[in-house]
């Protein structure tokens, strides 16, 4: 353990020389608690061709979903009529956005506020760098030289199926890479829902104040102003997200028990995390 800091300071040859000396002196003292004979994420492993200790999942592996996104499990429950908590591998609608080779016309999940909020959060993390906050295709990267993506607010895209957006995220499009590895399918569906909301919001005719939309808009504006005022008054502008976790956690925990048992091997890593959460 004493040798550890040295190990991290000194260049390899010096270390080797020191190690030999230390070996002679102490007949070897392995810092074997610091570096244990096992592979941690992102460690090197000479055994494999690409030298990564981490392996890709076997082709066709189905991701295990956990209960941390309540809207997902609620939705799954609704869809499957209760019981099932994660779609089967054969559920192509969920994983590809296509059913019988046809793009899904609507979202895989019933649209809810939770779904939209999740979609917004994920959109703002993942999509805004290029597509911008409103989906105009004016993200910051565009200013850095990335070719401008198409805006969402054209008729072709307004009329496109939900499954189409899902497919683009999953498989990439043009210069856009696939996000399948970075965004989980249910998150992709949430983003789809949010994109739909964006399209709506940017394409509303407010010229006639008597329309329902215009009234809603005014009401929303007033609400936002009030909320801003309240936020200014108190620092606690906590939004529903955190509470939702805590509040729904208990019930979903039990519901997900079955699926954990089913996919134990895949679940092992996440199960620890899962346990932490509750």
């Amino acid at each position: 353990m004493l040798l550890m800091p040295l190990k991290r300071i000194l260049p390899a040859p010096v270390r080797a020389a020191l190690a030999v000396t230390a070996l002679a002196a102490l007949s070897g003292c392995h810092p074997d608690m610091w570096d244990q004979p096992r592979y941690e994420p992102y460690k090197k492993n000479e055994f494999f061709q690409n030298k990564m200790a981490m392996r890709l999942p076997v082709e066709g592996t189905v991701a295990y979903r956990d209960a941390r996104r309540p809207w997902v499990s609620t939705a799954f429950e609704t869809i499957s009529g209760g019981g099932a908590t994660a779609p089967a591998a054969t559920d192509t609608a969920f994983y590809t956005g296509k059913q019988d080779g046809q793009e899904m016309a609507t979202n895989y999940f019933p649209v809810s506020m939770e779904l939209l909020q999740r979609g917004r959060e994920r959109f703002e993390i993942t999509c805004t760098p290029c597509h911008g906050y409103t989906g105009e295709g004016d993200g910051i990267i565009v200013g850095r030289g990335f070719p401008q993506p198409t805006t969402y607010h054209i008729d072709r895209l307004r009329e496109a199926n939900d499954g189409y957006f899902f497919d683009v995220m999953t498989n990439g499009f043009g210069r856009m890479y696939s996000y399948a590895a970075r965004v989980a399918p249910e998150d992709r569906w949430a983003i789809v829902a949010y994109i739909r909301a964006l399209q709506h919001s940017q394409n509303v005719d407010l010229s006639d104040p008597s329309t329902e939309m215009a009234q809603l808009f005014d009401a929303g504006l007033a609400e936002q102003e009030a909320a801003a005022a309240a936020a200014a008054a108190s620092e606690h502008h906590g939004e529903g997200h955190g509470d939702a976790h805590g509040g729904h956690g208990e019930s979903h925990d039990t519901e997900h028990g079955g699926s954990q048992d089913g996919g134990e091997a895949a679940a092992a890593g996440d199960a620890a995390t899962h346990a932490e959460q509750h």
């Binding site: 353990m1 004493l2 102490l26 007949s27 070897g28 003292c29 608690m33």
Partner: protein
């Protein structure tokens, strides 16, 4: 100053004298310092040193391999996590106790016969504690991180577990070693001055530096005696506390056979017992080899044998109380533990230890045995073996079979256990040989006091 000579009562004329007659202050200095300064070492010394260094080499080799390969080399397993390491630790620490006991407790009790043997016994203490220290050091598995057991403000914001008897051990044994060293060195200073004044050439400087410029001033002696008595006064409870704490290692647990309130005094008595046995094992040959029979007389052997007998009886008492109260407890586990000792897989060790520690010392009731070197020497060896077996029985029988039969196991030391154990004896023998070669093995100035008292007829 009373100077009348009292006639020796007739009943006491048979008591062997404390030292041979006819000595002067000068002859005392000469006889003792000549071993270091003048006389060539006898062949037996070279033989001992050779054996010691060989065994020490074996210790080094087995330790090096242990560092390389890890503790798996030893026989320790689940459920016997302690094994030889603790057995040897307790054995060596116990042996060490005789030195302090002779120096400190006999000093406090005004026992004159301590004089001739305390120096070598104290040296033995130091070397035995060194040998003892090896085992926990190796047993932790990562000796280079051993400083973790000390309380120092560290980057972990963490303290050692002060409520663990193992940590008490750390404090007890390190304090014991330090205080023994101070006590020993304090005793050496006036003798180093003698060596300084009698040696020639380069060794004058060596002894001169360590004598610290001692000049025998009356004021110095005054403070010296005060300090020496204080050190003795502190060492006496210290030595008791050390083996008490060693016994706590076992006794604060709830393991049947370990959790016994008699352990503290019984361990202390056992320590003194084995310590005196070891002192005799060393002194019996040494006094002959280096012609020290004038100073280490039959009376010394007799007295030490008596102490062995007394402590042996206390140890016997310990065995008997363990036996009786295991039954009296009414507790199934306690009763099984005893039955297991008597008739379980390690019964051989139990019966051997009873033979070595309880039966064989009964011969010490006989004066002929106490004053004849050969039977006494054989007995001390038997007791040394017996005391090792005692710790072996305590550690192994209790750990191999405690509460749950499903967790029972067996234990045996491997060749590396034996190499470390026998090797530690090599360290002990080597250090002892070097000590005899370079330092006066008898406290010269105290023998002078004794001579002075003899001159005045104050003692016999």
């Amino acid at each position: 100053m009373a100077s009348t000579t009292t006639p020796i009562p007739r009943a006491l004329e048979t008591v062997a004298p404390l030292m041979a007659p006819g000595h002067t202050f000068e002859s005392i200095s000469r006889d003792i310092t000549d071993v270091v300064l003048e006389r060539p070492m006898p062949r037996a010394w070279f033989a001992c040193l050779g054996i010691g260094v060989t065994l020490l080499g074996m210790l080094g080799a087995s330790t090096a391999y242990l560092f390389w390969e890890g503790l798996g080399l030893w026989g320790i397993n689940n459920p016997v996590g302690w094994g030889f390491a603790i057995v040897n630790l307790v054995w060596w620490i116990g042996i060490g106790h005789a030195g302090t006991l002779i120096s400190a407790i006999l000093l406090l009790f005004n026992q004159d016969w301590r004089t001739a043997i305390n120096r070598s016994a104290e040296a033995m203490t130091l070397f035995a504690v060194m040998c003892a220290g090896i085992f926990p050091l190796l047993h932790v598995g990562r000796p280079w991180a051993i400083f973790f057991i000390l309380p120092y403000p560290n980057t972990m914001a963490l303290w050692p577990q002060f409520r663990s008897p193992l940590l008490w051990d750390v404090f007890a044994i390190s304090t014991y070693f330090t205080v023994s060293l101070l006590f020993w060195f304090t005793g050496l200073v006036p003798d180093l001055a003698t060596l300084r004044d009698r040696s020639k050439g380069i060794s004058r400087y060596f002894y001169g530096i360590f004598a610290l410029g001692w000049r025998g001033s009356a004021k110095h002696w005054f403070r010296y005696e005060a300090a020496y008595l204080l050190l003795g006064g502190m060492s006496a409870p210290l030595v008791v506390s050390v083996h008490t704490i060693v016994s706590f290692d076992f006794a604060v647990s709830v393991i049947p056979g370990w959790h016994t309130t008699i352990f503290p005094p019984y361990f202390v008595a056992g320590a003194i017992y084995s310590g005196f046995a070891m002192v005799l094992t060393i002194l019996i040959p040494v006094r002959v080899l280096f012609n020290m029979e004038d100073f280490i007389t039959k009376r010394h052997l007799d007295n030490m044998a008596k102490v062995m007998l007394a402590t042996g009886l206390v140890v016997f008492y310990g065995y008997m109380t363990e036996l009786f109260y295991a039954w009296y407890s009414g507790n199934d586990y306690e009763r099984f533990m005893m039955a297991n000792r008597i008739g379980g897989p390690y019964a051989w060790a139990y019966w051997c230890l009873l033979f070595c520690n309880a039966l064989s010392p009964q011969f010490l009731w006989i004066k002929w045995v106490r004053t004849n070197t050969i039977p006494l020497f054989i007995l001390t060896i038997i007791v040394n073996i017996g005391m090792w077996l005692e710790r072996y029985v305590i550690v192994v029988t209790s750990l191999t079979r405690d509460f749950l039969p499903s967790s029972w196991g067996t234990y045996a030391g491997t060749i590396f256990d034996w190499m470390a154990y026998v090797g530690s004896m090599g360290l002990f023998i080597t250090m002892m040989c070097l000590f005899i070669r370079f330092l006066p093995m008898i406290t010269i100035f105290e023998v002078r006091i004794q001579q002075d008292q003899l001159n005045r007829n104050e003692i016999r």
